[in-house]
Amino acid sequence: MVALVIAEHDNASLKGSTLHTVTAAAKCAGEVHVLVAGSNAGAAAAAAAKIAGVTKVLHADAAYFADGLAENVSEQILAIAGGYTHILAPATAYGKNILPRVAAKLDVAQISEITKVDAPDTFERPIYAGNAIAYVQSSDKVKVITVRSTGFDAAAAEGGSAAVETVAAAADFGKSAFVGREVAKSDRPELTAAKIIVSGGRGMGSADAFKILEPLADKLNAAMGASRAAVDAGFVPNDWQVGQTGKIVAPSLYIAVGISGAIQHLAGMKDSKVIVAVNKDPEAPIFSVADYGIVGDLFEVVPQLVKELG
């Protein structure tokens, strides 16, 4: 059995999510190959070849792979899919966009956001915002799977020495075009990779109020996140959203400020190692999952916390 991992990358380097997906793939099959479909993506392919446990890297290069369009990347996957028992991609905006196209064309079910591999055909995945775990078994000839990064450790980025094989690029789908990108510039760590996250909720009250969290995030070298309520209210951008329909995170320390703790939010952060909650309502559900809680006005507690951290 050989598994194929679809690398998430920016042509120059691999995203961390790829490493977690390789770990999941190694639990499914004895051998792991990685597909890098990009434009001038030789550096990303070379990086994939160094991942511990990867035995072969397939590199498809074409200008129309530059921006990871789902139509083109899925056609490339289909072109090389024969012979693989498992096809896996990270359950990120990138992987979620692409992989269902592959499953549909192969006429197989997709198993989304697995958190555990119980057997090569049996997987665990959260449903209902993580309020239940489904154990699903697939009898399809190919298992098409997206992998939740928090469920699997990252494979070592160094130590492997896989061969890089160039494969012919599948044809350009041609009906979609990349127009542009607005990337939020930030010196902070990426939300899904951060060791510490400082998150704000509806209790922040305004976009301006989020500024009060910045010195705290600076002190801790933390990423900044938010609940859906804060995103809904327009306080912060959507890519800050932690929860069922946003990002799933599991840092060492998660500080929830002014977040009541709706189940949809807990779904995105309850696997964090240590949770701290700051909320003025002592009955807020967030306290039921927090290791340490402080009941108080966040506008007093947060500056005190910054001061105390020195």
Partner: protein, 249 residues
């Protein structure tokens, strides 16, 4: 131009579901059911396109049990002109839903299909992409802005780290993210009007689609519980606990 909007009947987002004690699933008997929130956003977007004069007809489609009629009526109260129910008692997987919707799309010939990005019950996030692949159409998932032009649609997408914009040739698939719009409240007069709008019912067999599940759910279990910790009296205690007890800073 015709727009198709698939809608799913799901357990209301305010309900905290419980796993059945025999591990066969979650208990959804007697719980409140509602339209999947992302599908409401999809219907709102289609309705606004119609109100802007860019779209002539909005058709809502649902697949599932008889009670999905209620979901379709809600959809027609938001603004759909008519509804189609693909009625079946089989628990539908995303691939089966995509095949059913393809059959409806082949018949209805819409130029645009707007779907919710994911349903809040099975959290699969698959149907829109699968439908696009089966139809051979381009897709723009997780949309936060949709601009319908002549023969094309320009869509801004929510991606990790920011936004990206794609231009798709019509016909095309769009799936909605949270910030695309804020769905309207349905008013009583519109609920009354919706009762008079046409609602057709078909069966998967009529559409020639095999909806047999591909996956077997061996069991459904409670997730590992996280126990509540302690409340600390002040910030100094908190920092000291984080340093010496939890050792995370």
């Amino acid at each position: 131009m015709k727009v198709l909007v698939p809608v799913k009947r799901v357990v209301d987002f305010n309900v905290k579901v419980r796993v059945k004690s025999d591990g066969t699933g979650v208990d959804i008997a007697n719980v409140k059911m509602s339209m999947n929130p992302f599908d409401e956003i999809a219907l709102e977007e289609a309705t606004r396109l119609k109100e802007a004069g860019k779209v002539t007809e909005v058709v809502a489609v649902s697949a599932g049990v008889t009670q999905c009629q209620e979901t379709l009526r809600t959809g027609m109260a938001i603004g759909a002109d008519r509804g189609i129910l693909i009625e079946t008692g089989v628990e539908l997987e995303p691939l089966a839903v995509a095949k059913l919707l393809k059959a409806v799309a082949d018949k209805e010939q819409p130029q645009l299909i707007i779907l919710g990005k994911q349903a809040i019950d099975d959290d699969s996030n698959q149907v829109g992409q699968m439908l696009a692949a089966l139809l051979g159409w381009p897709q723009a998932t997780f949309a936060s802005k949709v601009e319908l032009g002549d023969g094309k649609v320009t869509v801004t997408r929510e991606v990790d780290g920011g936004l990206e914009t794609l231009a798709l040739q019509l016909p095309a698939i769009v799936t909605t993210d949270l910030r695309l719009n804020e769905p309207r409240y349905v008013t009583l007069p519109n609920i009354m009007k919706a009762k008079k709008k046409p609602l057709d019912t078909v069966k998967p067999e009529d559409l020639g689609v095999d909806v047999t599940p591909r996956l077997k759910t061996l069991k459904v279990a409670e997730p590992a519980k996280r126990s509540a910790g302690i409340k600390v009296p002040d910030v100094a205690t908190l920092v000291s606990k984080l340093r010496t007890e939890a050792k995370v800073i």
